[in-house]
């Protein structure tokens, strides 16, 4: 299983404590493909960070089974190391065949000889391609994603889509997104993140409708605040 068991998460910001979730429990099968619609600022990055071990809950437990990896994650890639040294290092941490991972990443990312250059010389797009290639190269049990499901130009995007669809035949996905179409295309279960809780819906359409209501309220508040500022 993968998910949250009685998890609370709060952090101090600007002298105040902000509670992201409070005593929240939700478990998924690691091979589920779950799309969770979430508005900006709803805490999806922190939930995602907790699911893949990058964030620690204030209390409660995170349940993880197998390798949980954020799609396109570049976090463990060090700017001082070459692309090749970085992916070899990741392979070593996971006990995988470094040669196999390195060859796959070099070919998939289309970096050519730049693969042997330190990452600090990479453009944002090159880093993103390497990060995506790495996530496709690893034997991931459950992918997690904060919006990102592909990267690069149109050609590379369709390659990313194809690779992800192929990987999802034997891996799960927990996707936090504000795009109902993306969730519907990639996921079989649907929910939305509201008031620090994930609420599951019977259909993708149901989740999209509830999310539209939530975001229209949000837009109305933003409009109201903008109006107040002009006064």
């Amino acid at each position: 299983m993968i998910g949250f068991l009685d998890v609370s998460k709060s952090y101090a910001a600007g002298g105040q404590t902000r509670c992201i979730i409070n005593k929240f429990s939700q478990l998924f099968d690691p091979y589920d493909r779950v799309g969770i619609l979430a508005a900006p600022g709803s805490g999806k990055s922190i939930l995602l960070g907790m699911l893949c071990g990058l964030e620690t809950p204030s209390s409660g437990s995170i349940v993880r089974q197998g390798l949980v990896w954020p799609i396109g994650h570049c976090g463990p890639l060090h700017p001082g190391m070459t692309g090749e040294a970085n992916v070899r290092s990741v392979a070593a941490f996971l006990g995988l065949d470094a040669d196999e991972i390195a060859i796959y990443c070099q070919l998939f990312s289309e970096l050519g000889d730049d693969f042997h250059m330190p990452l600090r010389f990479y453009s944002g797009s090159m880093r993103a391609r390497l990060g995506f290639a790495l996530s496709m190269a690893l034997p991931v049990t459950t992918f997690v994603s904060d919006e990102m499901v592909s990267t690069g130009d149109a050609g590379f995007r369709s390659k990313c889509d194809a690779a992800l669809q192929q990987r999802l035949t034997h891996a799960g996905l927990i996707l936090f997104t504000r795009n109902p179409q993306t969730a519907q295309r990639l996921c079989s279960r649907h929910g939305l993140l509201q008031d620090g809780r994930i609420e599951m819906c019977a259909t993708a359409q149901g989740a999209a409708t509830r999310f539209a209501g939530q975001t229209s309220e949000f837009s109305a508040i933003v409009d109201l605040m903008a109006g107040l500022e002009t006064i």
């Binding site: 209390s59 990896w69 976090g75 463990p76 001082g80 290092s89 941490f93 996971l94």
Partner: protein, 270 residues
């Protein structure tokens, strides 16, 4: 099919093996990434302490510092600076490891404690290598080589290193509820440069002053190293027990603080 139940000892050995492999990976990454943005790269690890030692050597020469016992100037400075630098650089390395470990936590086996251990081990290796290289250079350039009791010198050096590692570990534990503590480490530790017997020996200090400075365990570590190196010097403040107790106390403090939930710590202190 009947599942084969593995004995607990087998599982434990596998777990230890996994931990050691992860530790090795973090150590390799720490070595590969240190100072990678600079042309001198890893050599900075040795250039910085060498420049500090060179500066103190010049200061001794300029002020005409008379050495308190029969030895050469460079050997005397090395006996104070090497354990002090082992302490100070280990503190820096362990504190830096906190940020380094954050993105690696996506790997199941990587914990902050393991990252701190890796950083401290790399620093111990660097310190020992620096120690050996400088002693050799002193011998080759000036014909001076004094190592009276290698085991005692190594004990003093190791205690200084262990004090640095455990001090940083405890400080990072406190930082879980008050980040300012980590930022103020440099300010807190600066006086140690002057009160740890780097430029002078404990035997030179008046009794009253020594009674106060004895509370600094790093003084014991420096004096142990010095006593181990020089045949003509035996410190009156070079005990193993006190710094060792401090190391264990700092380690225990760090373990408690890192295991307690942050909210509970804040409530306890409030």
């Amino acid at each position: 099919m009947i599942p084969v139940e593995r004995p607990a000892s087998h599982e434990m050995l596998r777990s230890i093996g996994d931990t050691m492999r992860t530790l090795g990976n973090i150590v390799r990454r720490e070595i590969a990434t240190r100072f990678t943005g600079d042309a001198l790269g890893y050599a900075w690890t040795y250039v910085m302490p060498l420049s500090s030692i060179g500066f103190i050597y010049l200061a001794f020469a300029y002020f005409g510092r008379v050495l308190p016992f029969d030895t050469d100037r460079l050997s005397f400075i090395l006996s104070g600076m090497l354990p002090y630098l082992a302490f100070r650089f280990t503190v820096n390395a362990v504190v830096r490891a906190r940020a380094m470990a954050q993105p690696l936590r996506v790997f199941a086996g990587v914990t902050p404690g393991l990252a701190y251990t890796a950083a401290a081990l790399v620093e111990f290796y660097n310190g020992l290598l620096l120690f050996a290289v400088l002693m050799l250079l002193n011998f080759l350039a000036f014909g001076n080589l004094e190592i009276d009791d290698p085991l005692l010198a190594l004990t003093g050096f190791s205690l200084a290193w262990a004090l640095g590692a455990t001090f940083a570990y405890a400080a990072l534990g406190f930082a879980r509820f008050a980040e300012i503590l980590v930022r103020s480490i440099n300010v807190v530790l600066r006086p140690l440069f002057f009160i740890s017997g780097i430029f002078y020996t404990a035997n030179e200090l008046p009794g009253g002053v020594l009674d106060v400075l004895r509370y600094n365990p790093l003084l014991d570590a420096v004096e142990l190293t010095r006593t181990g190196l020089f045949l003509s010097y035996t410190s009156r403040s070079a005990g193993i027990a006190y710094p060792l107790v401090c190391v264990l106390a700092l380690l225990a403090t760090g373990l408690v603080l890192h295991r307690a939930p942050p909210r509970k710590i804040a409530e306890t202190l409030a």
